[in-house]
Amino acid sequence: MRTLDALITESPVFAGLDQEQLELIAGCGQNVVFAAGERLFREGEQADVFFLVRHGVVALDQDVPNRPDVTVETVGQGEIVGWSWLLEPYRWHFTGRAVELVRAVQFDGACLRKKCEEDPALGYALLTRFAQVLVNRLQATRLQLMDVYGNREH
């Protein structure tokens, strides 16, 4: 069985980190499983964790008053769910739901924040990688917003 530090290199987010850093990060992680339909976290709750999806699909849902709930994005294998743990007020912006069976590595955000404060080099390395995740999400969201498939009748 592979150790966690080996497993987490499955994600491009952790690519390029050295063995010591990987072990530090893995030290804050544990394997978790969610059944189809189960919620990983709820919008508004304290965000102390984040996930690396190893198998399955997680939907990020938004509760829209007076309208059906919306799935803003789905996140799959090798992708990270959650950045709210990094920045105050550490609250989830969406609800996470397993669309099908999900196997993931759950990371203790508070634990990792502490390690980053102690080791600024690790902190910088993680922050730049999460910034990239955010940038990619932002760009994808913008494309979704553009509604490129929409019908613009004259």
Partner: protein, 286 residues
């Protein structure tokens, strides 16, 4: 008596007169797309290939270029076109009923290079109504399955209700010899599929980048934001093909409207390789 004038060739190729075709079947695909099946009233046009288009004429209203969306190897002289109602002509075409007669000129343009892709993995990436011009290529691959390696269809739509050919997609998805992934830009939680832009499906797709031909079709911006990750994934730019769209009035290279820089889309396209088109698409408003 030979003059400095040019001899009028007896067989001038290039008519602006449409042939009458009757609507024999009409299917609503979603709220603004219909698939029409047309049969020649008398003369038929030459056989159309995947990627090519016809100029469809609504009597007295006008003409528009529409790609073929059918199984061209099986439909004989019947033409299959999926039309989106966006303007006067397409609204008139989509309002046609079985028995009505439309006009057809064609086939025009070039084809998806599916024969050249034999022996390779085939990766088809469609966005929105772009699935319609790609469907003939997908049909061809399924009909000649042994000639290809992995055959993959990645399809991104606006919402689950906007997806074209929904039932067919589900049938294709159930096949053991094809990989089909679908995503939408927006959905309610009732949708149990993927939500997000189409390039997100690329990392999970099965293909050998060094031995893959990719066919991409959709709105221009979608083709751009899809081609880049394909290149990043290792597919050479000259093995990625996209289908361009430009204003067309004649379809035969004589009216000037479909120019994009040095190329006439009705004549040199609509299918182009990405390595040719990338620099052109990089110039806004070319």
């Amino acid at each position: 008596m030979a003059t400095a004038s040019i001899e009028a060739s007896a067989a001038v190729r290039g008519s602006m007169a449409p042939l009458p075709y009757r609507v024999v079947d009409k299917r609503r695909e979603n709220h603004d797309n219909w698939t029409l099946e047309l049969e020649p009233v008398a003369d038929a046009i030459e056989p159309i290939g995947p990627g090519q288009f016809d100029m469809l004429y609504a009597f007295g209203v006008g003409e528009v270029p529409i790609s073929t969306s059918g199984d061209v190897e099986k439909t004989g002289t019947t033409l299959v076109h999926t039309v989106r109602a966006v303007g006067a002509v397409t609204n008139a075409l989509c309002a046609a009923r079985a028995g009505d007669v439309l006009g057809v000129r064609g086939p025009f343009g070039n084809r998806w290079p599916i024969e050249a892709a034999r022996g390779k993995d085939l990766l088809i990436v469609a966005g929105g109504v772009g699935l319609a011009p790609l469907r003939p290529a997908f049909y061809h691959a399924l009909a000649h399955r042994q000639e290809y390696g992995e055959v993959t269809l990645l399809y991104g739509g606006r919402t689950p209700e906007d997806l074209l050919f929904r039932r067919e997609l589900e049938r294709w998805r159930a096949r053991l010899d094809a990989n089909v992934s679908v995503t939408v830009d927006a959905a309610t939680t009732e949708w149990h599929g993927r939500v997000g832009v189409v390039p997100k499906l690329i990392p999970g797709a099965r293909f050998d980048p060094e031995d893959t031909v990719a066919l991409v079709c959709g709105p221009e911006i979608m083709m751009r934001f899809t081609a880049l990750p394909l290149v990043e994934a290792g597919i050479p730019a000259d093995r990625i093909y996209v289908s361009m769209e430009r204003t067309m009035r004649c379809g035969i290279g004589l009216c000037g409207h479909c120019q994009c820089g040095p190329t006439l889309v009705c004549r040199d396209g609509p299918v182009y390789s990405w390595d040719y088109l990338e620099s052109l698409m990089g110039v806004p408003q070319l």
